[in-house]
């Protein structure tokens, strides 16, 4: 509001001047010569006098660049290549100006540089969101996509000034990409996925930044991605636009699984918390990740003794604070009390109602169920260190009381979600995989109701019948279930309830044997 009189004309003049200077052969190395001259012009025009004027200047420049792109995109009879060339002619110049201002502002004061970058990124996000809201289905991602990616690439050039502020630059971009997440700007979603999966972006955040400091940011962006897909995938509403975004997501996950499996290992919990239960293949992809230094034993090895595996007693990293997810605090208090001393005695009878909530789409608080399952399991494991984890040592215990209570007292939906939470821990050889595998098999064996056994089978089977990959822990659990005579798996009615199901089990068993 209330741009000073004449500022629009000055900005337009300066922007045109800069674009010409940028493309001139006399611009000098990295446009530095042109930049020095241009800064003088900005001073002369009074643009750099106040913070307010600088902010308005950037906003107006952004809007002008965006308007130019919309005009180019609406011109008839032009090829996409010509349109893009026209747009990029101005956009790339604008990006260079921003990069130079960030690099050279504040001399050696890195705070000044980062403040300026944050300001510019914030302005662009604001212009984008407003444009998105006003134009709705006519919104075009092109100018914003180009500015963000070229600015990111420019600010990640291997120069000492930029290396000194690289982590702050990455933080600024991750922050603005989170602001522009698909839930907030769905018309920008495809461009957004291009941005966060760009090879330079992934390389910087996941490979080059020391001590994995970029991993948490990237995990948040993936959660943002899963959240836009979740409602449509949950409803199996796979229209072409959703399918394209889903396939694109799978590609990115495959790259992460191949290049950064430890990243998927560390954040698997946060991802599974937001992926709908019916997105089985996508979830399997994440759960199949294992550390690159690990050699997985063949799950089909005859007489494989899981307890003897070297890594089976090592706890995996879970970089989510699951304790904070167990709410309210009174429930957490009662839970800890029950785990310690099986008191209060009303805890088990009230457990079901604590897990029921009324968020849209589900009658259960799925994140709470997931957190409860993992928390109870991780509390149980250290207590079994001396005896070792096995089906004979995990019960009786207050921990298994809770699991048995949930298996018996919840309805089918609740049981399904509870068992899904357990199955989400069946991953590579580690103490969680081993404990939860034993827990699942124990619940199967002890079940006094065939429907519980059916649901356990369902939860495992649905993960096995989708296309690869399949997590190692899932395979060894299912193999144990069908091979160990104690479970009498093949005697159950649900194994032969329909010809397709019988054939399905036989096919899966054949590949297991």
């Amino acid at each position: 509001f209330d741009d000073p009189a004449g500022l629009h004309e000055k900005t337009e003049f300066l922007l045109r001047e800069w674009v010409n200077m940028y493309h001139s052969p006399q611009a000098g190395r990295d446009s530095f010569k042109a930049f020095n001259a241009f800064v003088q012009q900005m001073h002369t025009q009074g643009i750099l006098k106040t913070d307010d004027l600088i902010t308005r200047f950037f906003r107006l420049c952004t809007e002008m660049c965006v308007d130019l792109c919309y005009r180019a995109l609406s011109e008839a009879g032009q090829s996409q290549t010509m349109i893009r060339a026209k747009c990029f002619h101005t956009l790339d110049a604008f990006v260079r100006l921003i990069a130079l201002l960030v690099k050279h502002s504040g001399d050696t004061n890195t705070v000044t540089k980062i403040n300026l970058l944050n300001k510019v990124l914030g302005i662009m996000a604001g212009v984008l969101l407003q444009d998105h809201e006003v134009r709705f289905a006519e919104f075009q991602q092109l100018p914003y996509h180009r500015i963000f990616i070229m600015l990111f690439i420019e600010l990640n050039a291997p120069e000492p000034i930029l290396e000194a502020i690289n982590f702050e630059v990455l933080t600024a971009f991750c922050h603005v990409f989170h602001i522009l997440r698909p839930a907030k700007a769905p018309g920008f979603a495809y461009a957004w996925l291009e941005l966060i999966s760009h090879r330079v972006f992934i390389g910087r955040l996941l490979a080059l930044t020391p001590n994995q400091r970029g991993w948490g940011f990237y995990a948040q962006l993936l959660v943002d991605l899963f959240k836009i897909l979740a409602p449509f995938l949950r409803n199996a509403d796979m229209t072409k636009p959703v399918q394209l975004l889903y396939k694109g997501t799978l590609r990115v996950l495959l790259v992460l699984l191949h290049d950064f499996p430890e990243f998927l290992c560390d954040y698997h919990y946060a991802f599974c918390d937001v992926i709908p239960p019916n997105c089985i293949q996508m979830r399997n992809l994440i759960l199949s990740a294992f550390p690159r230094t690990m050699r997985l034993p063949d799950p089909f090895t005859v007489n494989l003794v899981v307890e003897h595996l070297p890594d089976i007693n090592k706890a995996p990293r879970i970089l989510t604070n699951i304790v904070s997810l167990i709410q309210p605090a009174s429930f957490k208090k009662d839970l800890d009390s029950y785990l310690k001393s099986r008191a209060p005695i009303t805890f088990l009878s009230e457990l079901k109602s604590n897990l029921q909530a009324n968020p849209q789409g589900s009658r259960y608080d799925i994140p709470l169920i997931n957190a409860l399952v993992l928390y109870v399991g991780t509390q149980a494991i250290p207590l079994l260190q001396t005896k070792g984890v096995s089906m004979s040592t995990i019960a009786p215990s207050s921990h298994m009381d809770i699991f048995e209570n949930l298996a018996v007292n919840l309805d089918t939906e609740g049981r399904y979600l509870f068992l899904t939470a357990i199955a989400n821990q069946l991953r590579y050889p580690n103490s969680h995989t081993h404990y939860f595998s034993c827990a699942l098999l124990y619940l199967f064996r002890q079940a006094n109701d065939q429907t519980i056994q059916e649901l356990i089978t369902r939860v495992l089977l649905e993960r096995l019948i989708v296309n690869r990959p399949h997590p190692w822990g899932l395979l060894i659990t299912f193999i144990e279930l069908i091979k160990n005579q104690n479970f009498k798996f093949w005697d159950h009615e649900f194994v032969r309830c329909a010809p397709e199901i019988e054939k399905l089990f036989e096919n899966v068993a054949r590949s297991c044997y």
Partner: protein, 47 residues
């Protein structure tokens, strides 16, 4: 059921589907040999 927000997201996604980003949007401009994508026969090598 999808919420109102989710319906809005789906409509926007469907609109954006008709003008997807192109890989060259993330690349330096190539004046001499720009990308010029076009359908080629399936029996030609693609990569």
């Amino acid at each position: 059921q999808l919420t109102k927000d989710q319906h809005y997201q789906l409509s926007n996604l469907e609109a954006a589907y008709h003008h997807l980003p192109h890989p060259s949007d993330s690349e330096r401009m190539r004046h001499f040999l720009p990308r010029n994508p076009c359908p080629t026969p399936t029996y030609y090598p693609s990569a």
